[in-house]
């Protein structure tokens, strides 16, 4: 299991770096897919099988495809017709602030979770990570956030219908 952790972790980091470094947007998206798959592998090693597969379906299978679709449509050529009007202002400074904040938060979480200390092996409750357990949690403990998410998605759907519906076909 520890081997999975290291390999998937390295892949996730490599994918994340690829997203930033790649010159072509399509390459960035493909790197992001690698990153997402590596995360799914990490979930698997944590016995969260359902979570891992949902991660693959939703992120790699749906969201990344929409990204790819739009980017491929807009940059069909290697040299896009329209060049962007230069870089956005203050990206570098904001990036540094975000990176430092992220690093501090991550360190705090890692320290409070006792990173590096040997973990007592606790037996997982039976059915942990299964769709049944997942669904029960979702519809009991987390019912409020579940319904709120549904509400947000509904708003998005209505928004799309309103935006598209204005055009008389």
């Amino acid at each position: 299991m520890i081997a999975v952790l290291w390999i998937a972790g390295a892949l996730a980091v490599a994918g994340a770096l690829g997203v930033v470094i790649a010159k072509t947007p399509v390459h960035s998206v493909i790197s992001l897919v690698v990153n997402i798959l590596a995360l799914a592998a990490l979930y698997l090693s944590l016995h969260a099988e359902f979570m891992a597969l949902i991660q693959v379906i939703i992120y790699a299978g749906a969201i990344m495809i929409l990204f790819l679709f739009v980017i491929a449509l807009l940059t069909a050529r290697k040299d896009p017709v329209e060049r962007s009007e230069g870089k956005l202002e203050g990206q570098r400074e904001l990036g540094i602030v975000a990176a430092v904040t992220g690093a501090i938060l991550m360190t705090a979480v890692a320290l409070s979770a006792g990173f590096g200390r040997p973990v007592a092996q606790e037996a997982l409750p039976s059915g942990f990570g299964s769709p049944a357990a997942f669904g029960r949690e979702l519809l009991t403990t987390h019912i409020l956030s579940f319904e709120l998410t549904a509400f947000v998605l509904m708003a998005a759907v209505i928004g799309v219908v309103v935006l598209v519906g204005q055009r008389k076909l």
Binding site: V26, H27, V33, E49, V56, I65, L68, F69, R77
Partner: protein
């Protein structure tokens, strides 16, 4: 599987390190599955040409072997010995990776397909979601192939198939969910078991099966939904620039997906490997080949539909139907 446990134990006794011995049984299983896919795909390509031929009142391949049975083998040798061409304008990495991204998931899906009561590489309790997750990679590979080819037709083909796959994946998954509800499980083996104890689910899910069949044809990019490779308009669609073994890999993926579809259709709706007298694996193959023939039959009978008809059918026809079916199934499961 006892054979593999025995193999594992034997290796450990011979002094092979444990991690290596742990790796051997999955590798052997994968090799067997790979061989199964390769041989069946070769046979299917021959079968497709024969079916097409006879439906058009001609013979199909006749020269290589009796009734052209080893024609596919000859084709494979030809494809292997072909020059490996990568057109100069393509995005090299993505171009080379796309066929692999297409084939790997199509191959991995076979891991959870039950060929018989014990004949299954790995019985996952979330097999249905596993299949849905892996098959979604087809779209990524199409887009990768189409975009990296740096060619209008390829890109248009990829765009069409993406729009099509995204639209039809929704009713497909919803019709599968209804079956999972009936069986009370997402494991393919348990779904077969549930059907053995009651009846084939086609009896209570005729609507679900029709939605599943139609959506699957679209997912397979098969006629009447083969807009993404409409020869008259797009040369060959996303794989226009591919040749030699890379093209063969894309082609192989198509037929592997066809077998997957047939296997899932017979498992979900027609009792999978269950059946009287004959051994389970024979029953399974009979059902699988029946569905493969059905798909070929449809392909060589129906004309291609238009893009707007395709979208209307998907969003206004199949999606509401699958939702109605799911709702009724839910009520049935509650009062059962």
């Amino acid at each position: 599987m006892d054979m593999f446990t025995a193999m594992h134990n034997g290796l450990v006794q011979m002094g092979v390190p444990l991690w290596l011995a742990n790796l051997v049984p999955p590798l052997v299983k994968s090799l067997i599955l790979l061989l199964f896919i390769l041989l069946n795909c070769m046979f299917l390509i021959w079968m497709e040409r024969k079916v097409a031929g006879h439906m058009q009142r001609r013979m199909g391949p006749m020269r290589t072997g009796p009734h052209g049975i080893i024609q596919s083998l000859a084709d494979v040798i030809k494809l292997i010995s072909k020059e490996d061409i990568i057109p100069s304008g393509v995005d090299r990495w993505v171009f080379v990776l796309a066929p692999i991204v297409a084939f790997a998931p199509a191959f991995a899906v076979f891991m959870v397909i039950p060929f018989g009561p014990t004949l299954i590489a790995q019985d996952l309790n979330i097999a249905l979601i596993f299949i849905a997750a892996l098959t979604s990679f087809v779209v990524i590979s199409f887009l990768m192939a189409g975009w990296s080819s740096n060619n209008k037709w390829s890109l248009l083909g990829a765009m069409r198939s993406t729009a099509q796959l995204i639209s039809y994946e929704v009713p497909l998954v919803i019709s599968v969910v209804a079956v999972a509800l009936l069986a009370g499980s997402l494991s393919l083996q348990e779904i077969v078991e549930a059907q053995r104890q009651s009846f084939w689910y086609i009896l209570v899910q005729p609507l679900g099966f029709l939605v599943f069949l139609t959506a699957s044809l679209a997912e397979l990019n098969r006629s009447p939904f083969d807009l993404s490779e409409a020869e008259q308009e797009l040369v060959a669609g996303y794989n226009t620039e591919y040749s030699g073994m890379r093209w063969a890999l894309l082609y192989l993926t198509e037929y592997a997906n066809l077998i997957t579809f047939a296997a899932i259709a017979s498992t979900l709706f027609f009792g999978g490997w269950s059946g009287p007298v004959l051994p389970p694996v024979v029953w399974f193959l009979i059902k699988v080949y029946f569905f493969i023939f059905l798909v070929m039959w449809i392909r060589w009978t129906l004309p291609r539909i238009r893009v707007d008809q395709l979208m209307e059918l998907g969003w206004k026809g199949l999606l509401p139907l699958s939702l109605v079916n799911l709702a009724f199934t839910g009520v049935y499961v509650l009062i059962r």
